[in-house]
Amino acid sequence: VRAAPHAPARDVRRLRSGATLLLEPRPGAATASAVWLVPVGSRDEPAPLAGISHALEHLAFRGFGEVDGSALNRRLDELGARVNAFTSEDRTAFYGTVAPEHLGPFLELLGGMLRPSLRAADVEVERRVILEEIAMADDEPDGRAADAVAAAAYGDHPLGRPILGTRASVDALRPEDLRTWARARYRAEALTVAVAGRVDAEEVAERVEAATAGAAEPAPGPAGPAREAPPWHAGTHRRADRRLRRVHGALLAPGVPQDADERVAAELLAHVLGEPGQGALHWGLVDPGLADRAGLQHEAGDGLGAFAGGFETVPAREEQVRARFLELLRRAQDRPLDPEAWTRAARTRATDLALQAETPLGRAMALADAWLERGQPDDPREAVARVLATPPGAGEALLARRPFDSAALVALGPPPEGGEAP
């Protein structure tokens, strides 16, 4: 397998504002993309403020300074900006793609969004949007099972709560809470900006410098409480919902953090065990017709990581599928990995990495993530080479820690016949 052909020029700059700028010009690109990444997410939130990072991400689109939400959206549309944002457990990202000639004004608008106005009327309307988003998530049982297993594994720790928050916590959010959160968290020195595509590096640096100079005035005190390690509660649980017709399972097991050397091995191990259509779970559960979905991936976070898996089946086969799902993972801990399967996983993963590098947005995302996670800019050729050079022994070393012995598993489905489940 050949490594990705791009050998792009990369540039890391610490701006006077304190923000970090990662640049990767690609002169032949048709577009330019930017990612603004702030290290704040649901795991930083005290219980009464659950969902505030996600709410703030939404409200960033409702204007700053003299620019109201309608004007901001119209201006983004005029630039042809395909823009979006997400909030996870540990980060908030604003990102988008424009025609190269519109990159400058686009960067200015993204910078402004980190100083959101947070008008009371806007907070009220956006609250309704988020409550609809929570209702929508309630109609997505795979996601609900994933939230339920996080709650089971992490207990009262913020990682055990949904990123969106709860209806009660979102109902209770006040504009002043959001303002305090923005001042404490959307600070230039915490910001990573990655820009890739057909760009003029000097012009971008000037624009981002200007756009971040006015980022949130530092609040007194540290940027937030240090992230504490969560507790871990292994165990198997059943949750009942009479509206469901099928059983949706979700599993978490201890993995490795985002800056660990074993991270690549953990990704490949998850692939060997649980890649849809290819992994051991597929051949043990889906192919024989026991489950119609069964998979596993590795999710690396700040200070911790997890193997996250799931399955879907009919109620009549729930017991069998749940037991077999755990058995397939635990049995893998007792035997050597198939080196052929490991090589296949590495080659497929190498393709994914190379194809992610096709677009400026893919590159900007990879650059920003790698900087936040490991303090270094991503190099797609190195990433591909690292994957191909990781031996199966590295996966076996992870299995020797027996992560699946302490798995947490939740099955969400209709009440068992004859009564409600606990």
């Binding site: 577009t31 309608s70 549309d77 609250r127 309704r128 017709r245 290819q278 194809l355 096709e358």
Partner: protein
């Protein structure tokens, strides 16, 4: 290759083989990999009347062994090459797709071709294929947004084109290997099929290799499914015990090959493309009625229709329905110059972004050929969005009115 397009796109090859298969190859030097789209003109619209879902089942079955390799041997062979492979049955066309690093293509092409040219269709694999097809139907039970999509298509298109791609569970449960083989013999072949390959490749070499892998393919062409027939505009309520009410609208558009289609696309963009688009602003930004409201264009050869969907809590469904319906009516009166300028900028970025991935560009080539009869270069596609005047856009909107759409509401109390 027509002289004009060959001159404009020196890295593109376009050849139709003696068996009717059309091959398009486009070189993108420096791209990370290669993407392949192989499309056959058979879908749910061609399913036998007594076996809806026959094509979906066939696609499951033919994946389970081909070219002397079992399903597992095929999956392993693809993975050894680092190939990501997918595909499935559709409404009028079905296909297989793959992405890979460039050096995997020579070995991957014959493997991909095997599924269509040399499927085993073993009797002892039939049961599992059928079970997977049935499970895909059952899995819709817990997915209200997908149920809305199915219901909306069935109430927009009459007859064969409105059939579920998944098929009918009772008919599939009673199906036999012989019946599905007969369906394949009558419908799957190279005539009208298309393969598009885009990436970091030598176009002449890849054209020859692809021709070599597929020129021996023989088979029948699916009979014409006939013209699309539109169902009358009506409101349909479907009861469902779910958290949100799903609302979906649809209405017929101009046929995809109509020269006014780019103008119409620019006009429709005013509904949901961008944060200040009309439906987004009225439904979400001003009233907070939904997390997302989306509109899109669906097309089969000869016909296209628009859809708009949102989900809201049941006690706000009436308001959301009225607000959205008013915006759909208003669109027939046309868009402003500012709206048109925004639509142009947004659609241009979308087109250019899609063309930056091999898979996105291969998809553009396939859709151009299936829906318009000829592929367009990236610049040609962008120029089509730059050209239409506001008068042309508004005339196209008036010719495809959305004042009387089909509406499907799915949720608690919606069936009352």
């Amino acid at each position: 290759v027509s002289p004009a397009s060959a001159a404009a796109r020196p890295d593109t090859r376009d050849r139709t083989l003696g068996n009717g298969l059309r091959i398009l190859v486009e070189a993108r030097p420096g791209a990370g990999g290669v993407s392949v789209e192989l499309v056959v003109p058979v879908g749910a619209a061609h399913d036998p009347d007594d076996l809806p879902g026959a094509t979906a089942l066939l696609w499951e079955w033919q994946d389970r062994g081909a070219g002397g390799r079992t399903l597992r041997a095929r999956r392993d062979a693809f993975a050894r090459l680092g190939v990501r492979q997918g595909g499935g049955a559709g409404r009028t066309h079905s296909g297989i797709s793959a992405t890979m690093l460039a050096d995997a293509l020579p070995a991957a092409l014959p493997l991909l071709a095997d599924e269509l040219v040399a499927p085993h269709l073993d009797e002892d694999e039939f049961g599992r294929a059928r079970q997977h097809a049935l499970e895909a139907i059952e899995a819709l039970d817990d997915r209200p947004a997908e149920r809305l999509d199915e219901a909306l298509a069935a109430r927009t298109l009459r007859g064969r084109h409105g059939r579920s791609v998944y098929g009918d569970a009772a008919a599939l449960a009673a199906s036999t290997p012989r019946r599905v083989r007969a369906h394949r013999a009558a419908t799957v072949g190279p005539e009208g099929a298309l393969v598009a390959i885009v990436g970091d490749l030598d176009p002449d070499q890849v054209l020859e290799r692809t021709a070599g892998s597929l020129e021996g393919w023989r088979g029948a062409a699916a009979p014409n499914a006939g013209p699309v027939a539109w169902a009358p505009a009506a409101r349909h309520g479907l009861e469902a015990d779910v958290e949100q009410t799903q609302l979906g609208w649809s209405w017929p558009l101009l046929p995809p090959a109509d020269p006014r289609t780019p103008a119409l696309a620019l006009g429709l963009a005013a509904l949901t493309t961008g944060g200040d688009a009309r439906l987004v602003r009225e439904v979400r930004e001003l009233r907070g009625l939904a997390y997302a409201v989306e509109a899109g264009t669906r097309a089969v050869p000869g016909a296209a229709w628009a859809t708009a969907t949102l989900a809201t809590t049941p006690d706000r469904a009436r308001e959301a329905e009225e607000v959205a319906a008013a915006e759909l009516r208003r669109l027939a009166a046309g868009v402003t110059a500012d709206e048109l300028a925004r639509a142009r900028a947004l659609l241009r970025t979308r087109e250019a972004s899609r063309a930056e991935t091999g898979a996105g560009r291969a998809g553009q080539l396939v859709r151009d050929v299936l829906l318009r009869g000829a592929p367009r270069g990236v610049q040609e596609r962008l120029a089509a969005l730059a050209r239409p005047s506001r008068d042309e856009v508004n005339a196209a909107l008036a010719a495809a009115p959305c004042a009387a759409p089909v509406l499907v509401a799915l949720g608690p109390g919606a069936g009352a």
